[in-house]
Symmetry: D2
Subunit: 286 residues, 4 copies
């Protein structure tokens, strides 16, 4: 019996970078949170503290900043690809890199003025093993609510089931979605693809008469795959943000679906994958 080192990785997490493009009289800003994770032949530093193969996480951070200057940022998928390939290509010991980027949206107020839109965060996760690259795009914290068109009944019942059936409930969730690209999209296509996938999810959420959040989840994923051939698979994680109708009978009132309280915890959590049956294997995408 021996004790051995298994899978491992290291990197700099949450590098907060603001890029200002000053090419025009109108500035363009890109606000990112970048995380790098590298793996490879790193046994020595673990076993003896020999760091000769270790590219410091501080240098990783510097690289992220320098690349933003040297190459610009552009679409976050491209930025992450450029970084991931660089780390593997330039460091002999590093055989795998994963670069994750969050992008915070801002609205324009003027030529050089912006207000942070609090809407969903766009994400990209790029993995590269020296030969192949995998791109996962996504978003989180897209909070949506339907005040009609949601039912929940006909569920299994056992000793611990007390929930009443309903044909009219509030359905609300904070969409967390990640999707894997099957085919490369054109250099200028990441943003358009992302927007279309986002819109497809929103349309499916709003347009589906729902009998369960699972059904809505599937409809959202299906809509993305139906409309975006470049996307092979999508993973959705949907918290059921419960809004309970307040019982007003003690006050002699009939609520009538007008007043709800929003509950923090516990919450339902519905997670699922939707994919094409002919999707290429995921490789090291996830």
């Amino acid at each position: 019996m021996a004790i051995m080192l298994g899978p491992n990785r290291y990197g700099k997490a949450e590098i907060r970078l603001l890029h200002v493009s000053r090419d025009d009289s109108t500035h363009v800003i890109t606000d990112l949170n970048v995380s790098v994770a590298l793996s490879g032949e790193l046994t020595a530093t673990h076993l003896s503290g020999d760091n000769s193969a270790v590219l410091t996480t501080d240098a990783q951070k510097n690289t992220v900043f320098a690349f933003a200057k040297e190459h610009g940022v552009g679409e976050i998928e491209d930025f992450a690809l450029r970084l991931a390939r660089h780390f593997v290509a330039s460091q002999e010991a590093i055989t795998f890199a994963r670069v994750t980027v969050e992008q915070y949206p801002w609205d324009r107020l003027g030529g050089h003025s912006f207000s942070r839109s609090g809407r969903e965060v766009r994400t990209a996760t790029v993995s590269h093993d020296g030969t192949d690259s995998w791109v996962v795009s996504g978003l989180h914290d897209l909070t949506v609510l339907n005040s009609a068109g949601s039912e929940f009944w006909g569920f299994a019942r056992n000793r611990y089931t007390t929930l009443a059936e309903t044909t009219d409930r509030i359905l609300a969730t904070a969409v967390n979605a990640q999707w894997r690209h099957a085919t490369p999209v054109s250099v200028t296509g990441w943003g358009e693809s992302w927007c279309a996938a986002r819109d497809a999810m929103i349309e499916a959420f709003a347009g589906t008469h729902s009998y369960s959040l699972q059904q809505t989840l599937f409809a959202m994923g299906q809509r993305v795959l139906d409309t975006r051939p470049e996307i092979a698979e999508i993973r959705l994680s949907l918290p059921n943000k419960h809004h309970f109708e307040v019982d007003m009978s003690p006050f002699g009132l009939v609520n009538g679906g007008e007043v709800f309280y929003a509950s923090d915890r516990p919450y339902g959590l519905i997670e699922g994958t939707i994919r094409r049956d002919d999707a290429p294997p995921p490789g090291k995408a996830w």
Copy 2:
């Protein structure tokens, strides 16, 4: 020497209420976080646990829900006024009520579908003492950024001053503002007044060539008072969300105001009040 009870208050905090108006085929939702604080002749419960004068915080919560049903919500200032007056009028021991409301904005996706806008939170704080009422409106988490038009130089220097002067820096803040109404606004006017105050602050932020965040703060407050006669005083709390230009000279690069890192802590915090010299006394507004 005796030990005595001083000022005190109690209430239910953070009542999360969603109101759905179903008057039309198009639903209107109002998403609130309501807090109540009451004070009055409450010595007995403190000294002996005699609760006969205590309206339970649970009943306060129920009242908030029931009032949303019985009277609707409408503008949050009106909702808070209705509640504050009720608590003082209906409970003999209660001589003062403060009701604070946060309203979360949603964008419409369809007739019954919404997405949470992550933009600023609108607030109202109403105080009532049985005779008079004071209304403070406000907002928080309005995050804005200027990528040009901000300088900072000519400041005092001492032994501990190392900051370089600059004629071109990023200026970013998360606006936290509260303003006191001097004169009643019409029943339908709170929302219009609030939007106009918000817009005035944004315009002043974007339109002021800034030599200090203090100057920008004053300009924002001044613009609100200039354009809104019903507002007597405004308090602003502006964190200076530092974005530092990355030094790229070690990499043989010249940054040129293109790549910044966003720092979490520490941060500057600039706070100030702007008011009319003929503003009525604040009373118990704050």
Copy 3:
């Protein structure tokens, strides 16, 4: 009618400082979060952006670090006093300083090893106007719970009251307390005074058979003043962290006070001041 600048202040907030005392083979660490707020004759920077009277918040940060080196930290009240007096004494335009310090507790694991105790945070707030100084000590996030000895009944009832009376409930809160010192304590006395005040609150919480959280609040404050003559006044803010007994009758079970669910929001919030009738005036302490 003119628009004028009212009260204002500025400073650097949340300076995260770790001090390591290496005087002995055994290290002592002090982990702080320091915030500075200065006010004085600062009209020029607000009205015209003339910063000649502005000590930069960056220099304030540097001062905090340098003072930790030059004078050590010691008790946080002393550290804050030293800083507050320095800012007023050394900057002509500055006439008032408030320095707030949070101290995070660590447990010793060895001579140079520590684990962060997650217990309450100790605080100090020092105000200085060039002549007088005011010291407020305190703590927050001291979470305590009694599983017996708490009742709540005999409260007022109205149309909206549905809460059942109880002679046995869970009483839990996260203590947020700040107390004002009436008389100077000796140079070495801040820590002892703080510990004793903390222990007095805990003993009163645990030892009071409670008929309301207000009663417990008063007992906690009274115990502090009874046992610590140097403390003139204490302000307590106690959220009622509700634990509701789960209704198990639908499952054919009798709970019997054994299983509770902890609710996040809404929560009761009980706030009160306890003071001596001969306490000196608070001046600018708060």
Copy 4:
């Protein structure tokens, strides 16, 4: 090409349960956050909203509460095992259950009084597929710091490397660890095993002269496996909580390793697995 449902699961997350054992005059409290995730034959609810196979997340919540009453809680691994097996055994459609439990530590103040210790959170994750069960124990938020005995030098250098080598730095991290049990431990053994694993990690952290956080990570995992034969594999995720020595040369001072600032972001993140070469296969443990 068809679009199909892939892996999916659902459940109730973050059920906050407090259990009070009243068997003695001395109460014992157990404070938990329980999450359930179930999977199985759930295609119908996704494709058509037919919920006949769906045990509601509300009923899952009720089951957690009821089981705490009927069977007590005991060690969290046992509680999770009991629940996971129940969900699979009792619901025909459910073929796999994962139950995750967080336990918050409290210190005793008296027979019925407690204060929340803010120390690390204990965790258990149990997976059950109808035949086999897998138990993973762990903890998170164990924050530790060494103020001596940590070096970092001899690392790879490239164009973007600016970090200075050091033979004396602060090493601090918030330990996030999960370990898989190879052999069943006795019914009463989970708690003892957990405490010993925790202590082994702390001893290794404090006792290792460190040349890299990777080396410390491996030492921590190795110590756990060396001392606890029942543990087959451990996964550690260690953020490098940077404390940077403040440069005081501009003030004419020599810091000398006494004053540091704690940085929030970015941070290094070191992750690794340590396991026995004869460990049984992990199955569905993770």
